[in-house]
Amino acid sequence: MIYFDNAATSYPKPKEVGQAMMYFLEKVGATPGRSGHRLSIEAGRILYQARESLAELFNVDDPLRIIFTLNVTEALNLALKGLLRPGDQVITSSMEHNSVMRPLRELEKKGVEVKVVSCSPKGFLEPQDIEKSIRKNTRLIVLNHGSNVIGTLLPIIEVGKIARKYNILFLVDTAQTAGCYSLDIRKDNIDLLAFTGHKALYGPPGTGGLIIGERVDTKKLTPLKEGGTGSHSEFEEQPDFLPDIYESGTPNIVGLNGLKEGVRFVLAEGVDKIHQHEKNLIIRLIERLKEIPEVTLYGGDYRKEQVAVVSFNLKDKWPSEVGMRLDEEYDIMCRVGLHCSPATHKTIGTFPRGTVRFSMSWFNTLKEVDQAIMAIREIAKSV
């Protein structure tokens, strides 16, 4: 079996991830931050260690500025709905996932101005186009780092500089890059970094978070939800300190112990080494796909940096048909269709048809790439 659907959820996971989850269920079990007994304290330590490992990965000074959420979608919703008010303008790109676009379209109905800056058909964004869209009421710029459809990267460092220049906050959706591409919240000029645990951080589904940078005033970022935190229990109002202000209710501590191990795995292997391996895979895949005459490839020049995601179509074949045949005849798992991002498909010219998407991880091999290419060749030639 070949699993090429890592942009949706990575599989397999390092074995330590599942072991840590089982360890928690069998040996710890308790709720962190609520009681004073040793199992609760141990659960609290696990939660803290998960934050600490992420802080190391993203170069965050204070691990308590890392807020855990269900996934990157919840993290993005917290940032967007927590910050934007009627009359504010927000700038984004035409390459965003629905996890950004849908909350923005909802906010638009409530009076937030949404400016979508166009990317080129190859998926590139000119930072000056962002700068030209800045108005007096611009409150936030939000961009994805790596495209979940074609794997191209947006120029976050440059846009981050522009955001600083105009004193605007900058939110980055790192769903496709956290863990496989070097990210530094300070060097990259990021104010709010949204990540998911279940992709290149190799944690389980149900884990993710939002990192609150030093420039963010938490008084102006309202929580998505209020509730029990184990702190300030004598008051009926939500506490105002991090992380409790944004973390109500019992967290997914089982999943977060798994995520902690996933992140430690990434740190031990090294982001640069993982990135280099995935780069080797994607270069081989794209080179071989280019040799097949029936293949139309989307996105930029692969020699520029990109994540291990590629989209293509076969002449006279529906993506859904290709996907089904890859699964049933060749045991290859991939994703076909619109990949939750109609904006990207309109930008690259594949709306509403969609594409076939291959996305790889640290656990894929060059041999698997070659096997997949043989399968694509056969399907392309078949009537």
Partner: protein
């Protein structure tokens, strides 16, 4: 020997656990314990340390901007 110890009471368990992690890295002998009943009605935890380490503990808290409610001798 009980009067050789003090405790730091924090606003949250996360802060207490962060202080524990940082104090451990500085090789200080510390322990997380339930907050003594006479100090607070809260059911949370606090960080116990030897009185002789008071300066080091305070420096760690200051350097890492960890806010705390108070320090008590016990």
């Amino acid at each position: 020997m009980k009067d050789n110890y003090s405790v730091v009471i924090f606003y949250s368990t996360s802060a207490a656990i962060r202080a524990e992690s940082l104090a451990q890295k500085a090789n200080l002998k510390i322990k997380l314990i339930p907050i003594p009943r006479h100090l607070s009605s809260d059911c949370g935890i606090c960080l116990q340390f030897n009185n002789e380490d008071k300066q080091s503990i305070k420096e760690i808290l200051k350097k890492n901007k960890i806010e705390y409610e108070n320090i008590y001798k016990i």
